[in-house]
């Protein structure tokens, strides 16, 4: 069984949710919440998830302080060794702030925090986190963020649009005014992926409101599938 680290900073608050949901997807999973002070590249982690929350209170800017932390330097090192990394919500913001993914974040266009379910569509699924999905698949899951307006400059967008995995809100569902309706984006090989919506809140149909299906399950299944020896 692969070993997954769930990296926790002061203010991270979705760590236990990710753990619970991973176990719901596969009860045998080996996953562990790792306090940022204890996180090491050499910890033998097969994948790392940076969960949501408000690291360091999100003071200054969402994810900005955590992005400069020692743990994130270790994580950056891990990505060069091909360890898959998933950033969810604040985790995505941290990865972007740390320069592991392109773009930047701005406050929601409404000026308010927003918590609601949205529909996403996948472009260029690639890499371990999306291995069981196909281009054009629709996934449903909730967002909950105040600074979730993903922004990417046009030339950067041009350079990733046809090569990198991108998750987009259906245009009618964009909750924050992000560029090109982007909800999530990955590196070209898809090993590092970040997304604003919360897949861990969408692994069980019990938690999906009427009209929505739990679309987070496939992301966790994908990584567990991809990490199986021989993949």
């Amino acid at each position: 069984m692969p070993k997954i680290a769930i990296l926790k900073f002061p203010g991270t608050n979705c760590d236990e949710d990710v753990l619970r949901s991973l176990k719901e997807v596969d009860s045998g999973v080996k996953a562990e919440i790792v306090w940022h002070k204890d996180f090491r590249v050499g910890g033998g982690w097969d994948a790392v998830i940076v969960p949501g929350g408000f690291s360091y209170g999100d003071w200054l800017r969402a994810g900005a302080i955590a992005a400069r932390s020692r743990a994130m330097r270790e994580l950056a090192e891990a990505t060069t060794r091909g360890v898959p990394v998933l950033g969810i919500c604040n985790g995505f913001q941290i990865l972007v702030e740390a320069g592991l993914l392109k773009g930047a974040f701005l406050p929601n266009e409404s000026g308010r925090f927003i918590c609601r379910w949205v529909r996403l569509r996948i472009d260029n699924p690639k890499g371990p986190w999306l291995s069981l999905t196909r281009s054009g698949d629709e996934l449903h899951m909730p967002v909950a963020h105040g600074e979730g307006r993903y922004y990417i400059e046009e030339r950067d967008y041009e350079s990733v649009v046809s090569s990198s995995p991108i998750l987009r809100y259906l245009p009618s569902d964009n909750p924050n005014g992000s560029s090109y309706n982007i909800a999530g984006i990955g590196t070209e090989d898809g090993y590092v992926l970040g997304l604003m919506p919360h897949p861990e809140r969408a692994v069980n149909s019990l938690l999906a409101p009427r009209g929505f299906k739990p679309g987070g399950e496939v992301i966790f299944k994908s990584v567990l599938h991809s990490l199986k020896p021989g993949w």
Partner: protein, 85 residues
């Protein structure tokens, strides 16, 4: 009539705890060795481009506006209004 750029800064009153500033100082500035920084304070800066007869008028116009609109809360904030340099 002229156009004036008036800057209003809203910050927490002295003596009140400022968790944002403290976190920035402790977990960012000092952690990375910028120890010459003795204190950090955080405020919000609003810049208004105002049409007025004179700079004084522009300033007092903005002051009144900030009060009326309750852009800051006099109970916890201080407001500092100047003409943009």
């Amino acid at each position: 009539m002229g156009l004036y750029r008036v800057v209003a800064v809203v910050s927490l009153k002295k003596g009140l705890k400022d968790p944002e500033a403290e976190t920035i100082q402790k977990d960012l500035v000092l952690r990375h060795g910028y120890s010459a920084v003795k204190e950090v304070r955080v405020g919000k800066q609003l810049t208004f481009l105002v049409e007025a007869e004179s700079p004084e008028e522009a300033i007092s116009y903005v002051k009144e506006m900030c009060d009326k609109l309750m852009i800051y809360n006099p109970v916890i904030h201080e407001l500092y209004v100047t003409l943009h340099a």
